[in-house]
């Protein structure tokens, strides 16, 4: 059995293994060490003995025996026996096979617990991301470092400190419930979406591990959807990621330039992912209740995904969804997007009215898309001189040469009169 084959088993089994051990020893660092010990044993024994029939169970048994050993000898315990509870202390008196069985996870909550702990709000965002990718996605420190363009030592430090912080804060090993759940879940979803966006932002020349972050995030999201199927925002996030990922093949032009959504060749959209995204959104809908921010963003993405051509886009629905999003998560960027949708649905004058309300918004002061959108709407209204001025201003705020060139091109086009319609 090759090293790569054992790595594949590790990728499948490690998160659940670490999660079970974390419940037993109540310490993330120790749990990971015990899991790694089991991996070492596998690397030593499997090439000769062959793969066991149930490799996951094999690893679990080795790690649990080591864990029991340590518990019995009282070594390296961060917490005293009393804190482990009388029940567990009593179980330590059992014969070993009974003990191993007694330490099983009847409810299947271990993995979900590990998810919440890895994304605990006591940790910084970078720490949560590093710990999650390490413990749940099974990425090596090197892989995480390459994916996020930081030195390996930095990632290693983050993970070490994160484990220490969790231990020092005596974070309880429980799945949050009741009033606490929403906030804790939001923290988890934030980490997953951050990983996705990091991958989505990768450009052509990047290390292949970077765009692969989209796959990792999608995998984590899909796992979470099965661990917490009753949470609509989980399905909302999965839907959003599936639909965004569906456009990966259409986003880049032949010379590596970004292609805007409305200009993309929709035949290059991955329709399997679109289908999966719409199915995930439906799961969120079926759970009832008002949509949260991820489900709303997914619903907006779904409107685009359902349109075979840009002209078939249900802009009125998109405008309504942005309105709901603006009420939940108010932001000038959301309102700007809403203005664009309103313009598409109800005409440029209606959109312009909203954009003008944002003119004095301090957060949009240097945001090139504000004058950019304003300029496009003015052009559609035939106010070409004003349009050109706005687009030139937008060009001056552009973040790179390509963006600037695009905006200057649109400004110059205003001198020539009306632009052809999209689609």
């Amino acid at each position: 059995m090759t090293h790569r084959a054992i790595e594949a088993v590790w990728r499948i089994e490690s998160a659940r293994l670490i999660a079970a051990l974390a419940r037993i020893v109540r310490d993330i660092g120790l749990a990971e060490e015990l899991a790694q010990d089991a991996l070492v044993a596998a690397l030593e024994q499997w090439p000769e003995s062959g793969v066991p029939d149930r490799p996951g169970a094999w690893l679990m048994a080795i790690a649990k025996h080591r864990a029991i050993d340590l518990l019995r000898r009282g070594k390296r315990l961060e917490r005293k026996h009393e804190e482990l509870g009388h029940e567990l202390a009593a179980r330590l008196e059992l014969a070993e096979p009974d003990l191993v069985a007694a330490l099983d996870d009847p409810v299947g909550d271990d993995l979900l617990r590990l998810v919440f702990i890895s994304c605990h709000p006591v940790l910084s965002t970078e720490a949560r991301v590093a710990l999650t990718l390490r413990l749940l996605a099974g990425l090596t420190t090197e892989e995480i470092a390459r994916a996020f363009l930081v030195p390996e030592a930095t990632v290693a430090q983050r993970i070490v400190r994160a484990k220490r912080t969790l231990a020092a804060a005596r974070v309880p090993f429980e799945v949050p419930r009741g009033a606490e759940l929403a906030g804790r879940l939001a923290s988890v979803l934030e980490v997953v979406y951050l990983v996705f966006n990091e991958g989505y932002a990768a450009t052509a020349g990047d290390d292949w591990l970077r765009p692969a972050l989209c796959e990792e995030a999608l995998r984590l999201g899909r796992i979470l959807a099965e661990l917490a199927p009753q949470e609509p925002e989980v399905h909302g996030l999965v839907a959003l990621m599936e639909i965004q990922a569906s456009r990966a093949g259409a986003r880049i032009g032949p010379s590596g330039e970004p292609v805007l959504l409305l200009d993309q060749d929709r035949a290059r959209w991955d329709h399997l992912l679109v289908h999966r995204g719409l199915a995930a959104l439906e799961r969120a809908e079926k759970l009832g209740g008002a949509f949260g921010p991820y489900a709303l963003q997914a619903a907006i993405a779904a409107c685009h995904a359902r349109a075979r051509t840009p002209t078939e886009t249900d802009w009125a629905r998109i405008a309504a969804l942005y309105d709901a999003l603006a009420q939940l998560a108010p932001s000038p960027v959301v309102e700007l997007n809403q203005a664009v949708a309103i313009a598409m649905a109800f005409g440029p004058a209606a959109g312009l009215a909203l954009v003008d309300e944002l003119a004095s918004e301090p957060l949009l002061k240097d945001y090139h898309l504000l004058p950019g959108v304003r300029g496009d709407l003015l052009a559609k209204l035939g106010r070409f001189d004003e349009a050109r001025a706005e687009l030139e201003r937008a060009a001056s705020l552009a973040r790179n040469a390509r963006e600037r060139a695009l905006l200057l091109g649109r400004a110059a086009a205003c001198a020539r009169g009306p632009a052809p319609p999209h689609g």
Partner: protein, 146 residues
Amino acid sequence: MRFMVLMIPGSAERYEAGALPDEKIIAAMMKYNEELAKAGVLLALDGLHPSSKGARIRFSGGKRTVTDGPFTEAKEVIGGYWLWQVKSKEEAIEWASRCPALDGDVVEIRQVYEMSDFGPEVARQEAALVEQIDQRMDENKRRPAP
């Protein structure tokens, strides 16, 4: 990486006869599919009707010939497929090895072509090649026929 995973039942005859598998096998397969979904690797899956409900279109000599199933000469028939998202071929092999298949069954894994297999560099090379071919064809048009 994506893999299409094909189930080739051990007994093509039994499969073509439309025999339903044992309850226990169905339950085991459902559990297996659940595990794939819980692992976040399952993209799609479907069972296929026996080939008696299908047809073949053969291309030959510029003609297309349609033949209704069953295709009993085929020793191997595909009973169903999965589509998986995994990090490596070894991961696909590991998952395929866990399939609750019967004695004689074969599970085949095939890697799926993806957009990233045709990155922008490949597109550029393709475009250059197409241009070369166009140029050659233009030159050939200008030359008198032999």
